[in-house]
């Protein structure tokens, strides 16, 4: 099992990126995969029954070493989807896992620091600041309902083979990584991740709003106020500034 090698390594760690995708054609997936290919060792993907050639796009990247395409969508049974992705990811015998959405980009500094973040034996997870870009890729949104960047989001975790991994069995809003990591020591970095999921024109935002309301009309899984704020005509936007030299663990 672990004979002769420490549980936590300070060098030679293997990093696997894991993501779930669905009908990503014409969005950011290709760019995300190009960027990931530059700093991870493997990419594993669960394709949630795409019908638009997403799987072919994934297969075109050499670092996509595992790809599972589901026959029917599990979007409404998110826990099962997360579990399938987790099992696929750990089957690559990774040392670290990076959970990425098909519209998330790690800033340059974060990509450069990635090896330093994982080649240490003090922390078992790393959390970044995620910024919701709005209406385009130059500004992020910051107001009462859109402020995820004021907190840290855990996306990079050490894989510990015998750890008890627990993910709540929910249909929606399932955490992207097992909750169990919360008990282990982690590093809160100031490195940033750009989330382009809302970097879309007003008509696309309206479609997203309609989809959310259809799926969750009573606000069972999320806040109705936040759903409504998707349609704000004048959201508070802040211009993104590139920066360097932050977020290194000691």
């Amino acid at each position: 099992m672990n004979k002769g090698r420490p549980l936590r390594k300070t060098s030679g760690n293997r990093l696997t990126a894991m993501m779930q995708v669905r009908n990503e054609s014409g969005r950011y997936l290709e760019q995300v995969l190009e960027e990931l290919s530059g700093f991870v060792d493997d990419i594993v993907i669960v394709d949630d029954a795409s019908t638009d050639g997403t799987a072919r796009l994934c297969e075109s990247f050499a670092k996509v070493t595992k790809l599972v395409t589901l026959e029917g969508s599990r979007f409404n049974r998110e826990w099962g989807l997360r579990r399938t992705l987790w099992e696929l990811a750990v089957s690559t015998a990774p040392d670290w896992l990076l959970s990425v959405d098909a519209d998330e980009f790690y800033e340059e500094e974060a990509k450069r620091e990635m090896r330093r973040l994982i080649d240490q034996d003090v922390y078992d997870w790393v959390a970044f600041r995620l910024y919701d870009f709005w209406g385009g890729t130059t500004h992020y949104r910051e107001d009462e309902h859109w402020n995820i960047h004021t907190k840290h989001t855990r996306t990079l975790v050490r894989y510990l083979p015998q750890f008890y991994y627990f993910t709540p069995q929910m249909d929606h809003h399932v955490p992207r990584l097992p909750l169990s990591y919360a008990i282990l020591p982690g590093f809160l970095t100031e490195l940033r991740v750009k989330h382009y999921g809302w970097a879309q024109p007003p008509e696309a935002l309206r479609e997203k709003y309609d989809r959310y309301m259809e799926l969750d009309p009573e606000g069972k899984w999320g806040s109705l106020e936040q759903y409504a704020s998707i349609l704000d005509e004048n959201p508070r936007l802040v211009e993104w500034q590139e920066r360097r030299g932050l977020g290194r663990p000691e």
């Binding site: 099992m1 549980l7 015998q162 169990s180 919360a182 008990i183």
Partner: protein, 438 residues
Amino acid sequence: MNYLILSHVPWEDYPYKRLLDLLPERAEVCFAGGMTSDQQAGSGVRPVSLAELKTLDGKGYTILVSSPYWLQDVLALKPGYIVALLEPCPEGEDNTMWDKYSALLAARADLVGTASERLYLEQNLYRPKVVYLGGDHPLSCGLIRRGDRLFFLTDYEAIWTRALTELWQPASPGAGGWLFTQHRLRADFYVSMCGKLPAQPTVHYLAATYLYLLGDEAAGRYLARSFELMLLHDYTDCLHSHYRFFSAIEAKKGNLELAVAQYEITAFTEEERKTAVRMRQWLDNGQFELLQAEIYRVNEDIAEAVRILEDLSCPEAQPLLLQNYITSFQWDKALQLLRESGPSGSEAGNIPLPDGAVLPISATPPASAVLLAGTEIPVYGGIQLPVIEGTLHLLHGRRHAAIRSFLRAAGAGGEARTLFAEMADLEEAVGRLKGEDR
């Protein structure tokens, strides 16, 4: 059997009066302190003064003691049996000192009883004979006739009488033990509570704990659910309290490789990592008993660790046993072990300590010489051996020897003022206890 009650409160406030009615083979029952004639007539208990206490032949008595500040008198009396009735620290008493001397009292006791479930569980991890003086079983579990009075026994009262009886009439090895019976009752209670409170992590944790004490494999399932509920409630400070417990459960099941892996996950400090490396070496070398004992120790299950180590003769077992004795306040046994570890028992007259230090041993070792011979004073978990020795001197009434030991600890960088302050505090607490109008 004669019984002597050394109480933490005057007779009118004594909380164990009904248990006195149930004492097995009850002959004379004495209470140290004052009682009115009505109280004597109603209870069949005879008061004894402090002066008379000193003249009692302790051998003929079982002492029921419920304040740790009676410990010096208990040791002086050399009773037939000591039963420690542990109480949470009362208001107005120094918590640290109460807990320390309660632990020392429990370590000297032949049987420990407590109505506090927290103390009960703590004591179960320290020693094998502990009775919980509380219970939730709704049915009567026995009947005792005392003259013309009939007592229907609760579950814990039945266990109390059985545990006392077995002090002088040990049960046959094949008989189901009272300890097991009580663990089973508590486990059943908490398992049923899990059904009623399915989102309560503490109830699941307690079910897991009792199932673990029983050696029941279901412990892992309940711990897992407790862990999940902790996470769902965002109680994330549970790496040691909850997660590490998986390693003890796996060790008890004999899954030592998995037990080590679970411990490694929780090992972050330098000391924990060294322990993890040592565990893996023992695993690779097939030294399974040592490994199992160490996993129990890091899970604070000292009772299980000691049970294994006392049967081991390999040199590595001795320092581990010493460490466990000290942690569980079995300090007499610790010093005894050091005395027995003369030059013949260890290389070059040294005892290797688990943290890599070495304890030098005198060639002709009376108890104190063992400790005084070295130039360095070993420390276990913040406790210096001269402090242990001094404390025992104090408890046995050897005040000057205690002072010499404390001075020695102080000379080695310890805080003499702290030690003497504790000595004065203890004397004051003892004086307060005995000065109460009983």
